[in-house]
Symmetry: C2
Subunit: 343 residues, 2 copies
């Protein structure tokens, strides 16, 4: 509206009888300015209700003090497992301790998202970016590696000159889950995985295989299906799995949402959970503790994931850290959906 009213350092300079340079220095806390002058300037600035123009500052300093957020998960589906939101919470929490603000980019492309990752970031002149929830075949991903924009990836293990990442140990997490099922006496353990374009899926599958191997249980690839991280797709896959191989007594799901779908499928087939089928999930989403039966699962600290990502990125930006990989611990949560195999 009244742009005319916006005070600038020029106004302050005039009002306090000094040059703009001095105002700039005074306001930015430089030491080479007379204390009296500084006090005067600060007072005038307050009277005139001055706010620095970050655009102008950014233009000359070549840094905007903003971080770009590229998240694919701002949509209906991701409301259920609010993974995206929880990570965001963590990012925001750390950012709040700094003078960086967050810029949300609109990647959920309405049709012709013609702008590339780099363009998005370069145009807004973000100092760095956090990327989350994109598939390994996403064109954006290649760009990240090539571009020279400092960046932290969530759950995508790529490390370069200016790209770091934060993730959990998915192999170990899956091992915990499957070991647990074996400890409960299960031998016929299937897996509902996500999809082939997710690193976490690769790793969780590896964990599954590892445990089977060390228990000398034969790996059967037809016992591993992809549920696309969706409740409905997982339900369908679980149905097929359970119909084809009724001898399965336990299923490891690569996400809680898919575990929910899996349980639905079992129930529709007349198999009660956990009595006639043990199910363990992954993530520990909010729903996990509220559904009946409550979900045993591998918990990820999602907020910490976000917090660490923001922290790493900002440290990189401030030259306090090199890009690195941060691995967050997971934890087995025992609830009701998996129990000892009855014989």
């Amino acid at each position: 509206m009244e742009e005319l009213l916006m005070t600038t350092i020029k106004d302050i300079a005039k009002a306090s009888g000094v040059s703009v340079t001095t105002v700039s220095r005074a306001l930015n806390g430089y030491s080479d300015v007379n204390e009296k002058t500084r006090r005067k300037i600060i007072e005038v600035a307050e009277v005139l209700n001055y706010s620095p123009n970050s655009l102008a500052r950014g233009l000359v300093m070549k840094k905007s003090k903003t971080i770009g957020l590229l998240v694919s998960g701002f949509n209906k589906e991701s409301i259920k497992d609010n993974f995206t939101f929880e990570v965001l919470t963590g990012i925001n929490q750390f950012a709040a301790e700094t003078d960086y603000d967050l810029v949300l980019f609109n990647t959920n492309s309405s049709k012709q998202r013609e702008k590339t990752y780099a363009q998005l970031c370069k145009e807004r002149r973000v100092d760095g970016a956090i990327i989350q929830g994109i598939k390994t075949d996403d064109p954006y991903l290649k760009e990240v590696v090539d571009s020279d924009i400092p960046c932290v990836l969530v759950d995508i293990p790529i490390k370069t000159e200016n790209v770091g990442y934060v993730t959990t140990d998915n192999v170990l997490g899956a091992e915990k889950a499957v070991s647990y099922l074996l400890e409960l006496g299960h031998r016929h353990v299937a897996m509902i995985n996500g999809h082939e374009f997710a690193f976490v899926s690769e790793e969780r599958l590896q964990g599954y295989k590892n445990v089977l191997k060390s228990a000398t249980i034969k790996f059967r690839k037809e016992w591993v299906v992809n549920g696309l991280f969706q409740e409905s797709a997982a339900e369908e896959q679980a149905r097929i799995l359970l119909e084809s191989f009724p001898e399965i007594t336990a299923i490891f799901c690569a996400s809680d949402l898919m575990a929910l779908g899996c349980i639905k499928a079992a129930q529709k087939l007349g198999r009660t959970v956990p009595e006639q089928l043990s199910v363990i999930g992954y993530d520990d989403i909010l729903l996990a503790s509220y559904v009946t039966p409550s979900l045993s699962t591998i918990a990820q600290n999602k907020a910490l994931l976000g917090y660490s990502a923001a922290k790493l990125l900002i440290q990189m930006l401030e030259g306090e850290a090199k890009p690195q990989s941060i691995i967050i611990e997971t934890e087995l949560i025992e609830r009701e959906s998996a129990i000892r195999l009855s014989n």
Copy 2:
């Protein structure tokens, strides 16, 4: 990093043998530039991998094409009712259809949040702001009304020269809920409200009163307690309420989260829901359909709330609309937590 590599219109001008003015006009689609020249310029721009500098543009144009988001709900508690997130989803959805980006401000003040609302916005030069989840006694709120920054409020009915709002009809929503309970035969209906610094609480209370009145049921103020929109506080309040007035057969809760707490309290007191106590919530959060018993509730279209807020704001910014109030419909969702009173 390699800031030196950033192409500017100056580079393009040099490479294509024209002035920066012409480049600017060509790239911005002005008509007064020769088609041949334009093609040349665009080609060069692509070759040089040009991205416009939004900081520079914003500085001269006095608009940043960004929208500030002031949300108080980026924290652990708000993960349960992910109201905040769903609204954000809607905002993002509309923004994605435009060329505006979203800037998340860190209002969840770590101690000394010394910056005011206006400062936040002015510093970043956001063109407008969407404010959500702040209490009516929040100092930010007064500022909004005073400041000349275009702004849309979510669930706070204030309209001024440059402030509009989006909300649901909370009076009507509450009326639907309480009417429903009465239709089910209940006469002893209590209410668990939020807190006194929420407009929605005032309005829902009004709706509650309205229905009682038209049913000639006496309003008892000791039957209305505040649960602060929190599950635990509501549980405590519900316990006190039910212990003091065992004749209560139904409770209207001003949020689903509080309904959850309320149900817990009832169950701990040995009253089963819905058989011995009917409970109806408000919001229709994700959990509502997953818990047992599932929650009957008044559904708000949260994504639409956000979508409409973003739409209104951007229309205001583009001069296509004046600030106005938008009211979104609510809907009664019948599930399991409220049933006909048995006699």
